[in-house]
């Protein structure tokens, strides 16, 4: 039964309106970035990106962001797979309590822990280091990642695991050779989410690091916005530079990512 024409048109209108609402601000900043520079530097179009890159030191910031994000992703996913596997397939005393402990981490706002963490790391002389930015984010990602991988492993086929055991596989082999390969969608989702959250993180790098060489991209953009006082064009270009990497990752993996996310979100 085809819906009446009015209803179908109405639906498309709704889609377009909300699509535009979602895209609007993003398009605005893209357009502003490509326009002629109103700050008088004489560049326009793609030249703006080059100028913003130079003035805003974005090369170094993007490198730092990449290093931090990749490290956090690798470490968190590894740790999450291990702990999710344990919680999801093994029984041991206190597993319930320990798992709820991890759940706490998902709900803990960065703002609550960044203050004591800063002062403690400072007395240990560890602020202004790469790991001061990375490890707190690993901790946050591991909280979510453990929950995520546990819910995946719990729903994975018992018969597969049983078969592996009968073949004489220990838990390590069972994990890596039997359970992980089909977990790709869930893993992709986790990787994209952790990458996205780490790249976009602002408060932790702001507090932990004061030296230029360890500054991440979002921080660079915030300072650039205060520093570049003559016009909006170059600032918009800088914003595009900072936001693009994650958008690209998302664009390439979005089908897997959204599907995986939805599957996992209501698995519980």
């Amino acid at each position: 039964m085809r819906a009446p024409l009015a209803e179908r048109v109405g639906n498309y209108v709704l889609l377009i309106v909300f699509g535009l609402f979602a895209l609007g601000p993003i398009v605005t900043i893209l357009v502003a970035a490509l326009g002629p520079d109103d700050g008088g530097s004489g560049s326009s179009g793609f030249g703006n990106f080059g100028k913003a890159w130079e003035i805003g030191h974005f090369g170094s910031y993007l490198r730092t962001s990449l290093a931090v994000s990749v490290s956090v992703v690798v470490v968190s996913v590894l740790l999450s797979v291990l702990s999710g596997y344990a919680f999801g397939t093994m029984r041991f005393r206190g597993a319930g309590v320990l798992f709820y402990l991890f759940l706490l981490g998902i709900m803990m706002p960065t703002e609550a822990i960044v203050v004591p963490l800063y002062f403690d790391l400072r007395s240990l002389g560890l602020t202004d280091t790469f790991w001061a930015i990375a490890l707190p984010q690993v901790a946050q990602s591991v909280a979510f990642g453990t929950f995520w991988m546990r819910s995946y492993f719990r729903s994975s086929s018992r018969s597969l695991v049983e078969a592996a055991r009968l073949d004489g596989a220990g838990p390590w082999r069972t994990l890596w050779q039997v359970l992980v390969p089909p977990a790709r969608p869930a893993l992709v989702t986790l990787i994209v989410l952790v990458f996205m959250w780490t790249w976009n993180e602002f408060l932790i790098p702001l507090v932990m690091v004061t030296s230029e060489s360890l500054r991440t991209a979002p921080l660079g953009l915030a300072f650039f916005s205060g520093q570049y006082t003559s016009g909006f064009t170059l600032l918009a270009a800088g914003a595009v530079i900072v936001g693009t990497p994650v958008v690209l990752v998302y664009a390439f993996l979005q089908r897997h990512f959204i599907a995986g996310m939805l599957e996992g979100a209501v698995r519980e």
Binding site: R91, L117, R158
Partner: protein, 292 residues
């Protein structure tokens, strides 16, 4: 011989150990320290002074802090309630009729979540500027008197920040709800139609109960986002004009690192955490009761 899956095994502890170590050291221990610090008055440099629970008393007594938490509650409306309402309407309309391009739409509408908050803030600050696109559009349709410097307006600055939140979260909520609705078996719709239910009744009888779980997840995620608005406030208003957009998350940074009131900042952080726990637990209890 290894034990059957699901049987008790000590090796589980080994597997969770690395994660637990990092998590414990960088999240749990600092939380404990936050509670500890919140009992002191400390400027971050010289010796602190034990003041017991007076920082927490301030949360209620200090008008500025009360206002900040009040603003946070307003933001919850914009970050959670509005997106859920809009998302429900949007998703159910789209679900009823098979529209093409749904996948593309999902991708587009989820895009705001992916962009760094600083980029979002820079973009919207420009949109809200007295000579920015929003006012241009308003003037173009003859609503000159409505056009203003939104982020500097005492009445509208907080809602303006809230709208950014709605923009940011609606996509996520819509996508979540769409997925939940896609799982509803067709038979339920048919049963409702046989009973003579129109669109609205169908929504309340069939759709809403089925997506309880998704709504709970959506509310949890968005409430947490509403209470963690540091990035946004830092780049757009810094709590102004006056103190009309002060939020607890900004106050934490401001007090700890600009005013030298570390104990107070820690207390606010702890309160934020407790608030999130309470709301999350409440929402999930409600949702569970519904599906029971």
């Amino acid at each position: 011989m290894s034990s059957p899956p699901g049987e008790p095994r000590k090796i589980g502890y080994l597997y969770i150990l690395p994660a637990l170590l990092v998590y414990g050291a960088f999240l749990l221990y600092p939380l404990g320290r936050a509670v500890h610090l919140s009992l002191f008055e400390w400027n971050g440099i010289t010796l602190g002074k034990f003041v017991g629970l007076s920082n927490y008393a301030d949360v209620v007594a200090d008008a500025g802090l009360r206002a900040a938490f009040g603003h946070a509650l307003v933001l919850i409306v914009f970050y959670s309630v509005l997106p859920v309402v809009i998302g429900l309407a949007l998703a159910s309309v789209l679900q009823r009729a098979r529209v093409r391009g749904l996948g593309f739409f999902r991708t587009v509408v989820f895009l705001p979540q992916v962009v760094a908050m600083v980029v979002v803030a820079v973009s919207w600050r420009h949109i809200y500027a007295p000579d920015g696109p929003l006012n241009d559009v308003l003037r173009a349709v003859g609503l000159d008197s409505v056009a203003r410097g939104w982020l500097g307006d005492y009445t509208f600055a907080l809602p303006a920040v809230g709208v950014i939140g709605t923009w940011f979260e609606t996509g996520l909520v819509t996508v979540l709800l769409l997925a939940g609705m896609a799982r509803i078996p067709k038979e339920r719709y048919e049963a409702a139609r046989l009973d003579g239910a129109g669109a609205f009744a169908e929504f309340f009888a069939v759709v809403l109960p089925a997506v309880r779980g998704e709504i709970a997840v959506a509310v949890t995620l968005t409430v947490i986002a509403a209470l963690r608005t540091f990035d946004l406030v830092y780049v757009t208003t810094s709590g102004g004009p006056g103190t009309s957009t002060s939020v607890p998350s900004y106050e934490v940074y401001h007090r700890a690192f600009e005013l030298g009131q570390v104990g107070s900042a820690a207390a606010i952080g702890v309160c934020l955490t407790v608030l999130i726990f309470v709301i999350t637990l409440g929402v999930n209890r409600l949702a569970d009761r519904g599906t029971a």
